[in-house]
């Protein structure tokens, strides 16, 4: 029996898991499957000679993108933590119960023998807590000798001191015991740490979704192809790329001619031909027949892997957040220790019997754990939420700026619209005996031969037969339809007297233009909803475009936003600067090289996945999905994150400032200090995890609403005349 781990990054819910499990049931050689949605993994137990590739294909057939994964070790730490948490929790229940009995006994009188029994029982439960559950704190505190003071130093000190003093009092049979404080403190701090861990694991889990390249490629060896894992293919190998598949690795064409959709890398919607000797890139899609490449890169050195790295840049910046926590520790921890020592000295003068309790309480209560957790936890939670919704932040600071945005500049082509031309209308020009259907069919038959992006707007031809087809580069397609010469292409090519219009295609019969087809880039399906959501969020919207004013006006009216037409890169930059000069924080969304200056000047810049590499490297935010509603989600989440960070900081500061004087004056028992301090850490973490849930407010409900109907009318509704 062999166990294979398959990661399925796009498996999000329990019903996906059930589907996968059902599909794998009964697959020959597979003895058991186990689907884990939290880690997005499928564990398959199969006979040694069974091929896990069959399993991958089964899952792929359901529409997922599975990958064979290496064994993972990430969850081992989490498991350790869970065990410690469980032990501390069980012990806490008991010790708290004994503590209540002891408090009651102190008031109502209790036989010495029962008091000692309860103390020893508490001690028994406290030993595994201090000796096992609290170990991480002691370990980190010892590490402080080498790496400088950290937050765990006062924690470890407090736990150790409280436990040892209690132990002495128990053995000697007189004096206070603080076992309840020790276990509660440990349990609550472990809880905060556990939530933090879960949050980070979720972030990393959602991170792996970007580069959804196939896991295997068809390696050509001795004239035959065999599937091989991508990681095992060395540069210089021959690889066969089948029709409809992604090119698995960067390389150059050696055999056949490639017709590629390279939009994932370049943002250009035009399909390109690559002849033998020319370079092709991983991630591009083969739209023509199969071809063979010689690979030039390893799987982790491809251009698309570079983009994935870019998306991970924010994660590489995470140490900066951790640094912040360290800085807080560096400033506060010496202060905390000094304060505790000062309290002890002060009480020595007044009442030495109170000195230890007061010093311990100060040590516990002033620990700035909540303060140091407040910001990173909220940022991690917000980034996880965004990543789950297909929004990648390439700089973690961008989140703070997003919250402040109050104006947005949206590029038209490629941002509000998609590069996927559709036929929006047909007009008859001169009298001809052919019917509308036949004209359209004829055009479709000719366009089938064209390699132009606009040709994709036409449907599959039904009856019309054209022969002697010739493609005239830069003009159109010509052919014979029965006895007649037909042409399709731009106005000049077809004898139409209209000025050049890149969104019109003409059909001519024997040199006479008979029909004009209007083609347009459609609006993104949810553009209207997204615009509405942004407006509700109080953001002032302007559409920028290099297009003509008429075309922009039409779209702007539809969406009810301001627009500026015929924009050059410099003027886009000017508009951005102008808004900023008037005190606005500007979000710029664009996809073209011409948007780069404006993107660079913007407070926050966002781009779509289809944009070119240069644009992506400049943008703070990458929208992976096709929905523009992601922008609303971005703004709403940014604002919620800002609010939660402020709440957390305010709470942590207020708590520390009010509790320290009380503790120093001996007005607070240690267990209250332990509850307050560790409890506020947990509170801060739970507050941060609120970001992962959906808000109930109305503006955010708009963001979650399904996209509205496409605003581009279907062909059937178009009038002819």
């Amino acid at each position: 029996m062999t166990l294979s781990t398959i990661s399925v990054a796009d498996m999000h819910c329990a019903s996906c898991a059930t589907k996968i499990q059902g599909a794998l049931r009964g697959l020959p050689g597979v003895t058991a499957t186990y689907v884990n949605t939290a880690r997005r993994q499928v564990l398959v137990e199969h006979a040694d000679d069974a091929d896990p590739v069959d399993v991958l294909e089964r899952i792929e057939a359901l529409g997922f993108h599975p990958n064979l994964a290496g064994s993972d070790t990430t969850s081992r730490g989490q498991r350790e933590l869970l065990k410690r948490l469980g032990v501390a929790g069980l012990a806490m229940m008991q010790v708290m119960m004994f503590a209540i009995a002891m408090y009651a006994g102190a008031f109502e009188g209790m036989d010495e023998v029962y008091r000692r029994l309860l103390e020893y029982a508490s001690l028994a439960f406290c030993i595994p807590v201090v000796g096992y559950a609290a170990m991480p704190f002691f370990r980190n505190a010892l590490g402080a000798w080498k790496q400088g003071l950290n937050m765990d130093v006062p924690i470890a000190l407090a736990i150790a001191a409280a436990f040892l003093v209690s132990l002495r009092h128990t053995l000697s049979g007189s004096g206070e015991v603080y076992y309840d404080s020790v276990v509660m403190f440990t349990f609550l701090l472990l809880s905060a740490r556990y939530i933090d861990d879960r949050l980070k694991a979720r972030f990393e889990g959602t991170n792996a979704t970007l580069a959804a390249l196939p896991d295997r490629a068809l390696l050509v060896r001795d004239g035959a192809t065999e599937p091989a894992p991508l990681a095992a293919i060395e540069p210089g190998s021959l690889v066969w790329v089948e029709q409809g598949n992604q090119v698995p690795l960067d390389g150059e064409v050696t055999e056949g001619e490639a017709l590629l959709d390279e939009s994932v890398l370049t943002g250009e919607a035009v399909w390109v031909r690559r002849r033998p000797g020319e370079a092709v890139f991983a991630g591009t899609v083969n739209r023509g027949a199969g071809f063979q490449i010689r690979t030039t890169s390893a799987f982790d050195a491809t251009r698309i892997a570079g983009i994935a790295d870019l998306a991970n840049r924010a994660q590489a910046e995470k140490p900066r957040i951790a640094q912040l926590a360290d800085r807080v520790a560096g400033v506060f921890v010496p202060g905390v220790l000094t304060l505790a020592a000062a309290t002890w000295l002060g009480w020595q003068l007044v009442d030495p019997s109170q000195a230890f309790v007061a010093a311990l309480t100060v040590l516990v209560v002033s620990c700035p754990c909540a303060l140091s957790l407040a910001t990173p936890a909220a940022i991690t939670a917000a980034m996880t939420r965004l990543r789950q919704r297909g929004i990648v932040l390439t700089r973690s600071e961008a989140l703070e700026q997003v919250a402040a945005v109050d104006a947005a500049l949206l590029d038209k082509t490629g941002t509000l619209t998609v590069h996927d031309p559709v036929l929006v209308g047909m007009e008859r020009l001169e009298g001809t005996e052919l019917g509308d259907d036949e004209l359209l069919d004829l055009a479709a038959a000719l366009q089938r031969h064209a390699n132009h992006p606009l040709a994709r707007a036409f449907p599959e031809p039904r009856r019309a037969r054209v022969d002697q087809v010739q493609v005239v580069p830069g003009a159109g397609v010509e052919g014979r339809y029965g006895e007649r010469r037909v042409r399709i292409g731009h106005g000049g090519f077809c004898g139409a007297a209209e000025r050049h219009d890149e969104h019109a295609v003409f059909l001519s019969l024997d040199g006479v233009p008979v029909a004009r087809f209007r083609i347009s880039d459609p609006l993104r399906t949810d553009a209207a909803a997204a615009v509405e959501g942004l407006k509700q969020a109080g953001i002032r919207l302007t559409m920028l475009s290099g297009d003509s004013p008429e075309r922009c006006a039409e779209l702007a009216r539809l969406l009810d936003i301001d627009f500026a037409a015929r924009q050059a890169p410099e003027t886009k930059l000017e508009v951005t600067r102008d808004l900023q000069a008037r005190g606005h924080r500007v979000l710029v969304v664009g996809d073209g090289i011409n948007d780069v200056p404006a993107l660079a000047a913007a407070d926050v810049s966002a781009t779509v996945l289809e944009s070119s590499h240069l644009v992506k490297s400049k943008a703070d935010v990458l929208l992976l999905g096709r929905r523009l509603g992601a922008l609303v989600e971005l703004v709403v989440t940014g604002r919620r994150a800002r609010r939660i960070v402020r709440e957390n900081l305010a709470w942590a500061l207020a708590y520390n400032l009010t509790a320290i004087p009380l503790a120093a004056l001996g007005l607070m028992p240690p267990w209250v200090a332990a509850l307050g301090m560790a409890g506020s850490s947990v509170l801060v973490m739970l507050n941060a995890t609120r970001l992962l849930r959906n808000p109930r407010s109305r503006s955010a409900a708009a963001a979650a609403a399904p996209p509205v109907d496409p605003t581009v009318p279907p062909l059937a509704a178009v009038q002819t005349g």
Binding site: A14, G22, A32, T33, T37, A38, K83, L90, F125, P128
Partner: protein, 51 residues
């Protein structure tokens, strides 16, 4: 009240057993997936003894 002298040590033993069981459960993947198994009840297809 003398019964406490017996019951408290008994509770100690019970808790120790509970602790051992919890650690065993964590080590045997019982806490790996808390969401999905609730959906198994909706799955009508015949058995798959491992999950």
């Amino acid at each position: 009240m003398a019964i406490l002298l017996l019951l408290i040590p008994v509770s100690l033993v019970l808790m120790a057993i509970a602790g051992v069981m919890f650690v065993w459960a964590v080590n045997h993947d019982q806490f790996e997936e808390l969401e999905r198994h609730g959906f198994d009840i909706l799955d009508d297809s015949p058995g798959d003894e491992h999950s």
